[in-house]
Amino acid sequence: MSKPVRVKIDWVFFKNLVVRQIRQDYLENVTGFSWLILQPLLLLAVYAFVFSTIFKARIPEAADIGFVPYLAVAFWPWTAFSEAILKASNSITANGALIGKVAFATEQIPLATVTATFIMHMIGYMAVLIVLQLMGTSIHWVYLLLVLPVILLMWVLACSIALLTSAIQVFVRDLAQILPPLITFWFFTTPILYSSSYLPESLQTLTQWNPMAWFIARFRELLLFGEANFDYKALLMVLFVMVFAWVSLRFFRRFSGHFEDFL
């Protein structure tokens, strides 16, 4: 087997890819980029109505905070995470024309898709946090400095998964059908709509192995309760994500030279 000609990641091109991705999603809209903020706020209003008025949902340990802030702080990072993976999985097949004609480091495509999705949702996240503050929830803004590295770590995790799924989907097209239900399953098994204290003992220990549960817990702690509980688990998490990212990149590059044959 021949050694592939490695093409390096080009930052200007990567930036262009990210910008293109963001513009692509909002280009057709009349109001353009304002949807980046409007859409999350509208969604927030919908959740406030559904969960506070219809379901009358409550979380005992966050009774004074209220359900909507409790959900919102966790929900936006999750949306960024899941949407990034779903969009990126499709990205290699969607950019087949480019891959077949120009030699470049193909990992840039799923990575740019994940990055663009994260940027868009983080803008929305900020808007949601500001509105929550205006509505009377006290957000611990100082801890935003600690939220940032957590989000960054989550971004790395999303990138790693996107590298795996986008490479697999070139060969196994069925993944496009399998992935959404899997992600939905992940959503409901992660304490986003509920608190992990609702779960029976046995499931609580299982949840400890869910990296997303760790991320969600950190967002709530930092922004709503103003607590910074970074113990050895945080270190393990960083270690796990880094190793996983390395494995994913190796995995992706094993296949990337052959994409053109299968697109």
Partner: protein, 397 residues
Amino acid sequence: MDTLVRIEDVSKIYPRVHKSRERLQAFVSLLFGREPAQGAKVLSNINLEVVRGQSLGIIGENGAGKSTLLKVLTGVIQPTSGRVMVHAKIAAMLELGAGFQPDFSGMDNVRMKASLMGLSSRELDERLDDILEFADIGDYIHEPVKHYSSGMVVRLGFAVITACRPDLLITDEVLAVGDESFQKKCIRWIQQYLEQGGTLLLVSHSMYVVQKLCQKALWVHDGGIEQCGDVFSVTQAYLAWHEKRNAKEKEKQIKATGDGAYYRIENFRLASEGDDKPPKFAMGDNLDIELEIYSPDDRPPVGVVGVIRADGTPVYGVVSDNEAVAPLKLADHYYRFRLRFTGVALLPGSYNLSAHSMDPEGMRVFDNRQMAFVITGDTKEVGYIRLPHEWMDQTSE
């Protein structure tokens, strides 16, 4: 010499990817570092070296492997075996507007493409005016690319290439799309680029372009290198090969005669007295011809009879259905024409009588027969045929 690209013993076999099971198997094979199940072999054991300043034209029939060779060279696809070494900044134009996003404006796409070719933002800003001037598409640059004509796309694509100043320029039959003046502009640019020491790999079906721009040519045939060398000798060999192949095809068509033909000639006779071979006739005799054709679907076929000089010059021919003549049905599937050339006005010499059978629509020739005959006589007239004539009596004037 400064080698920009060297490929050694490169083969490319496309994996089988049609069924989803094959794709899954390929996925598992690759995961464990093995080659996937192999399908069509497109390149076999190619060795090639491109040195700085060289201009190499790649020619060959469709499907010979030219584009695959370029894709391997540019690193778009991995060869199945062999080594590819590249020490150059390559700008490849394998397809017009590759990497162009139809929804975005020409300007956005120029930025994208330029960054894809490794141009920094500052370099692009410096050269943007040159790009726009070269593309010369005016205000269309702010329109989405989906509204462009294919010629405009190639203008823009080539304009970005000109700004990249690559060590090695690779183009795959893209110049053919632009209009005459843009093609000339591109050729001028490439010539200038070559004069400044640039290196070129060009795939083209236009021998004119190849001879104009390249010193050397590479003829790819069936995935291998058929010939490589001076541009004129290789292109001539290639053209000669094409002519030969065309001649062979023609021959094949002609060979489908006799029993193999669909509407075949069963019998072709020229009535003659005496047993001379070939039969002899005096000028002014009648030629009585019989042509029997077998019709497989029992519809009345069309017959053609003609006279050809021995040197191959056609003299006269007549087609039955043009004269609304139907053959006589002798039996099922068997039809006969009878034709008389009365008082044949052919000048003395050797001739061939030629007959063709055609389908009932008179669209296709299926079979042919020829038969030699000789016209005898004693005349000093020249030409093939005696035209009825009369020297005018002028004494009464």
